[in-house]
């Protein structure tokens, strides 16, 4: 009843109650003492609510007393707060006092066998597969054990009775029991046995495996990850059935207990990188992990750089390919986005599609992306530089055109950019927030209506509209979303540089960016490789992609254990044909 009441009160009384709620929660976590003075002070500030507040205070204090009693009962038996005493009753009290108040916690007490040994099952309704619990766990109630069997033997016997259950572990520690139960496990307590059986009865509410939404590809595999970690691992295993594919689990998040998997090929990936990543994963202490990015931002070498250092992908094939290249993938429970590292700049411009198409197509697509990047980043700054600072560099006819279209414009070009860019970003964000069908409408309306109107109104010149549109389109040719915002930020730096120093500013800023890129390293892998430092063999799969027989080496920057990914000499097709023909004639 108390549980049901609290949210209502919180909504009603706002800040003061939320604060109180926090302090009242504290004891279940670490045994902090309620800050009574604070509550009183806050209550006195709101005399009208005094009555209700007092009532609530009494309620929570009662609950607290209950919890303390449960803990104390256990403590009296074991001597510490974490260990399970072996007494089902004590455990029941404790669970009832702590977890049992939630309606989704199911506690079933029953007796096993002839000897009628007290036992108790604890699980979270909805998280477990009811079939398993019903079929297997309730089977044990009918277990025909003589009364003389010691509880320890009983435990071993019981283990062999569970068939449908996955893993079975046992523990004595509450700090392990509770999280397991919370994540869909079932805890079996048997009176007199200090070990608690933890049964893997998890059933996740899972989405089906769908097409990759954020990284579409015209050809090639379409499968994407879903939120369930096990499925993610299965999908990877299917693509990389190598025995050396390692999944190393980490539990991160005091509250979320999120499982994070560090995946790599032990015979390929540089162990130094793996060790460093594992060390960093182990060092993350946060109460909650909901998305993979929350982990990703811990893993980057340089946190404040504008360039993304981790590649996110929901595509199974992309992750599998990169694992084989010698990278490490991080899978996060409840997030279909896996992370890859370490990365170089070029990695963010490579997609699955590049590998699913012939190399001419693939190279063309990549070069177009590069052209898109250059156009998106430089077109507008160049327009500003050439129309305002260095018009000398333009051919006279073009300059006359620009001059003609700019006659009578109220704003200088840089302000026009701000206006247009704001409009575009607002349209983009609006289209993102709206349902898909409406989003398209907004885009069209924005582009046509606003674009035409703004030129008609004489606020922005027509050339600017063309350039802004091209820039916006060009910047969206980026295949990896995480780097798109980088360029959108840098775009503004370029605008300022062009406005201040013209072409000179653009050149200097480019140098600064190259310096910054050169200075970036991830786990010892230079970000600008294979261009700085030059790695000739890696160029085969960079801004162009050579035919696969030509790409024989894994990226040298990753310093893999097995640098060679393919045999040197592809068999001469003519020889094969000749052999086949000879055989046919015989």
């Amino acid at each position: 009843m108390n549980q049901a009441r609290r949210p209502r009160l919180e909504r009603k009384n706002g800040k003061a109650y939320i604060k109180r709620g926090e302090t009242a929660h504290a004891p279940t976590e670490g045994g902090a003492i309620i800050d009574g003075s604070q509550i009183t002070r806050q209550a006195s500030q709101k005399p009208l609510l005094e009555q209700e507040l007092l009532h609530d205070l009494t309620q929570s204090t009662q609950k607290f007393v209950q919890e303390i009693e449960g803990l104390l009962a256990e403590h009296a038996l074991v001597g510490d707060f974490d260990g399970y005493s072996g007494s089902v009753t004590a455990a029941y009290d404790r669970i009832k006092a702590t977890l049992g108040q939630s309606p989704d916690i199911v506690i079933r007490r029953f007796q096993i066998g002839v000897a009628a040994v007290d036992a108790m099952l604890v699980f979270v309704n909805g998280q477990v597969d009811n079939n398993i619990v019903d079929r297997d766990t309730l089977l044990i109630t009918t277990l025909d054990e003589p009364a003389t069997t010691s509880p320890a033997t009983l435990l071993t016997r019981l283990k062999s009775h569970f068939l449908a259950v996955g893993h079975i572990t046992h523990t004595t520690s509450w700090s392990k029991i509770i999280p397991t139960v919370m994540l869909g496990g079932t805890a079996l307590f048997i009176d007199g046995v200090r070990e608690v059986l933890l049964l893997d009865t998890t059933k996740f509410p899972a989405r089906a495996v769908t097409r990759a939404q954020s990284e579409p590809s015209i050809k090639g595999p379409q499968e994407s990850f879903n939120e369930v970690l096990l499925t993610q691992m299965d999908q990877l295993r299917r693509r990389l059935p190598a025995g050396t594919l390692r999944f190393e689990p980490f539990k991160i998040g005091q509250h979320t207990h999120t499982t994070v998997i560090c995946a790599y090929l032990s015979d390929v990936t540089n162990p130094a990188i793996v060790e460093a990543i594992k060390e960093r994963l182990g060092g993350i202490h946060r109460s909650s992990i909901q998305t993979s990015n929350e982990i990703g931002e811990y893993l980057a070498d340089r946190r404040f750089t504008i360039f993304p250092q981790i590649r996110f992908s929901e595509r199974v094939d992309l992750i599998a390919r990169n694992l084989d290249q010698g990278k490490v993938a991080i899978l996060t429970a409840n997030d279909p986005t896996a992370m890859l590292l370490p990365n170089t700049l070029v990695d963010f411009y490579q997609t699955t599609q590049d590998y699913a198409f012939p190399f001419w197509d693939a190279s063309l697509m990549r070069l177009i992306r590069l052209a898109g990047l250059i156009a998106g980043l430089y077109l507008m700054p160049f327009y500003i530089a050439l129309s305002s600072v260095n018009p000398d560099l333009l051919p006279v006819k073009l300059l006359l055109t620009i001059d003609g279209s700019r006659q009578g414009m109220p704003f200088p070009p840089e302000v026009e950019v701000i206006i247009m860019w704001l409009i575009i970003e607002i349209l983009r964000e609006a289209a993102n927030r709206l349902p898909q069908q409406m989003g398209t409408t907004i885009g069209t309306v924005g582009a046509v209506v606003v674009g035409t109107a703004i030129v008609k109104a004489g606020l922005v010149d027509a050339l600017m509209i063309i350039i802004v549109t091209l820039t916006a389109l060009a910047l969206f040719t980026v295949p990896a979303l995480e780097i798109a915002s980088t360029w959108r930020w840098l775009f503004w730096f370029f605008i300022v540089a062009a406005w201040l120093f013209g072409i000179y500013g653009i050149v200097l800023l480019t140098v600064v960016i190259v310096v910054h890129l050169s200075s970036l390293e991830n786990f010892g892998v230079p970000y600008l490789s294979p261009f700085g430092p030059t790695r000739p063999s890696d160029l085969a799969d960079s801004w162009i992609r050579l035919p696969f027989p030509q790409i024989r080496m894994r990226p040298t920057t990753l310093r893999t254990l097995a640098p060679r990914a393919a045999k040197t000499d592809p068999i001469n097709p003519e020889v094969i044909l000749h052999r086949a023909q000879t055989r046919f004639r015989q």
Binding site: S388, D403, G404
Partner: protein, 369 residues
């Protein structure tokens, strides 16, 4: 947003709106398309600039014919002792920034004194933003050139510039860039020459060359002589000759040439050997049908017709001490540094022996025998 953040934003935006340092949007620049320099009383120089007006710009942009009311350009001029000062005076008459980065044409009056011409060239050379590939011409009257009535479709000066930039459009490809003059002036053994543009009631008359001795114009060649000089320099694109050959009238068009000049000194005497390989298209011929033998005779007749005329032009140039386009410069640079002074090389040049070899071939006889 706190007040100081707002203040900071305004402070940051202020220069963004007003522009700073070298940032000046193109609409705030008075873009000079052509400028001219002529002598003025009291040894001063009159500078004239042509700037397209807003009407002119929009008509140029849209390509449509200008409305009858709108003026396409405005022409401003001012006098001063130096060209720079004259341009500053022009700036005083303008509300926008006088911008010389896109000058397409520089017109020098042929009446400029040597001192003024030198001063002008020095000014143009020093001017950083000036486009060195701007065309430079000589004209008897800068005022007339700039005030020519526009025909349909835009600024007349742009037509002139268009003619220069079109490879092979005009009879002689005699365009000279500011750069050419700038480099020829200090080079020992090189003389400056420029296209000589006059104004006629119908427009511009191009097709003549004006040669300078040091900085003084000495001879404005007739169109025919210009064509011959063009052949010597290898820049004639559409030369034409017609004459009577044994009672038959002969016309040759699209005369072009490959020319070479070989200067050498023998027994302390300068020799200049010119070799011209001229070719052309048989254009008019009312004699008997063209056979191989007759073609050969026509070839030699034309060569014999051209050679003395070319020699005459060369002799006149020699008399005036004018040696365009590196006839002597390589010799002076590589072997006779002592000739560096103009008086010395000119003295040698005036006494030089000129040898002309002309070889002519008809490369095209047209669609009939």
């Amino acid at each position: 947003m706190t007040w100081w953040r707002r203040g900071l934003a305004v402070l940051l935006l202020l220069p963004l709106i007003s522009g700073c340092w070298s940032n000046r949007p193109v609409e705030l620049r008075a873009m000079v398309l052509a400028m001219g320099f002529a002598p003025a009383p009291q040894n001063r120089i009159r500078a004239t600039v042509q700037i397209p007006t807003t009407t002119g710009l929009t008509s140029l942009t849209s390509g449509s014919a200008p409305s009858s009311s709108g003026k396409l350009d405005y022409i401003i001029s001012a006098c001063a002792l130096t060209p720079g000062m004259a341009l500053t005076r022009i700036q005083d008459q303008l509300q926008t920034d006088l911008y010389l980065g896109q000058v397409q044409l520089i017109a020098c009056s042929s009446h400029l004194s040597a001192g003024q011409f030198r001063l002008l060239e020095d000014y143009l050379t020093r001017l950083g933003p000036l486009d060195k590939t701007a065309y430079i011409i000589a004209t008897p009257s800068v005022r007339k050139l700039f005030h020519i009535e526009p025909k349909v479709g835009g600024l007349p000066i742009l037509d002139l510039i268009g003619g220069f930039s079109c490879q092979g459009c005009e009879t002689i490809m005699y365009r000279q860039h500011q750069w050419d003059v700038e480099t020829a002036l200090p080079t020992a053994g090189d003389s400056v020459w420029m296209p000589y543009v006059t104004v006629t009631p119908t427009g511009f008359n191009t097709g003549r060359i004006l040669v300078y001795r040091h900085c003084t114009p000495v001879w404005a060649l007739s169109p025919h002589d210009s064509m011959l000089l063009g052949l010597i320099l290898g820049i004639t694109a559409k030369g034409y000759v017609n004459f009577v050959m044994q009672h038959d009238i002969l016309g040759i068009r699209t005369l072009t040439s490959h020319s070479s000049v070989y200067p050498f000194v023998r027994a302390n005497r300068l020799y200049l050997r010119f070799g011209l390989a001229v070719s052309g298209t048989l254009d008019s011929w009312n004699g008997p049908p063209v056979t191989v033998a007759r073609l050969g005779s026509i070839d030699s007749q034309v060569a014999h017709y051209l050679a003395p005329q070319i020699l005459t032009v060369l002799k006149r140039l020699q008399r005036q001490g004018v040696a365009p386009e590196g006839w002597l410069a390589p010799l002076i640079w590589r072997s006779y540094p002592s000739w560096h002074s103009p008086s010395v090389w000119e003295a040698h040049y005036r006494k030089a022996v000129l040898i002309v070899h002309v070889h002519f071939r008809i490369t095209n006889v047209g669609d009939t025998e």
